[in-house]
Symmetry: C2
């Protein structure tokens, strides 16, 4: 497969990041905090949620970030939903789209539109334990090392090229919640780091591998 | 599934460990070194190799450990080979059998005979990348964290209950050899540690999970 730069914007100001979330938005919060601390090298341009009750909205409000609710019931089909989402993200000038606990599966047209600039975080050391309840899967399998993965999104479930991973030890008698909390701390570290690498144009997708280029 | 103690020997002196290897025997060497340093709490009773050229034999000789060659060509079938191996290990009083780069697949009768006291080490973070060339698989998949796994052997390939795992970072531009060497250092640490836990009767298989009991 050919090499391809993942960031195509040039000379138009800081990279604009859109975050898509459905829940509390702790990863969104970590991304916002990194931006405010000057560690992101990018601007958080918009939060999109699929339900008005998503706690992430409160974080957006508190930090003066535009939050948009796009509900499924407003759109007759998944394709129509994805199309509306694409239009919104284009309108907001999103250079990079970050899924952060967004509970809807995005269709192939969405994935194709943002290919190479669509990130997701998964609470497992991919390729282990794709899909829902990864921490529960890990405990049931009896692994002693779990972790988190930031990856570019492809058509599969949690299968795309891996940007960063962090290992997390499983403790004796861990509960799903305790393990999830320990993994979440690493998510909050590596997701902003991956975005910063993207914004610095230091990520290059080479087949299944993501090369991290040296700092200029 | 029911809980089951993994070490059934009681009051008959130190746990006797048999190591099965096919190659250089670096894990065998690490196990011997741990035994000699008093960190194993067990005695390395015998080395079994399936080819006379295995470098592990030299390590056994240098440390005064009995080495036995059991070649495939001496036995008409895999079942006959496994049967001879079981007889040899029983004769040598093996309480625990450790596969350390043993390149033969052992059949169900062997696995059943030594169930709960048969360990293997695999150069990946199971369940990722079972089978041959795990390090190559990991690099091709583009993971950023690789590792090593000590597990009890079941009927599958590298699928049994996990005793210990160690995470190993993948470096930018890693080669298969460089990654394998980095993983091997962790193998040399966790394999003796797993054996010591077994010898101290601190491992308990509970379904797919291996509980590590507190030190007495």
């Amino acid at each position: 497969m050919s090499e391809r730069a993942t960031s195509e914007q040039a000379g138009r100001g800081p990279v604009r990041v859109a975050v898509l979330a459905s829940g509390r938005g702790t990863n969104f919060g970590a991304i916002v905090a990194a931006a405010e601390a000057g560690r992101l090298g990018a601007e958080v341009a918009v939060l999109v949620v699929d339900r008005p009750a998503a706690g992430a909205i409160d974080i957006a409000r508190a930090h003066g970030i535009v939050a948009v609710v796009v509900e499924a019931r407003e759109h007759p089909t998944r394709e129509a939903y994805d199309k509306a989402l694409i239009a919104l993200l284009v309108e907001r000038g999103a250079d990079l789209v970050c899924l952060a606990g967004f509970m809807r599966v995005l269709g192939p047209a969405f994935v194709e539109h943002f290919r190479g600039r669509l990130l997701n975080i998964h609470p497992a050391l991919s390729p282990a334990f794709p899909g829902l309840h990864a921490q529960r899967q890990a405990l049931a399998h009896g692994v002693k090392v779990a972790g988190a993965t930031v990856h570019f999104v492809d058509e599969g479930v949690d299968t795309g090229p891996i940007v960063l991973q962090a290992a997390v030890p499983v403790a004796e008698d861990d509960t799903e919640d305790a393990l999830a909390a320990r993994i979440l701390r690493e998510e909050h570290r590596i997701y902003p780091e991956a975005i910063a690498l993207f914004a610095a144009r230091r990520l290059r997708i080479d087949g299944r591998r993501v090369r991290i280029l040296p700092a200029p």
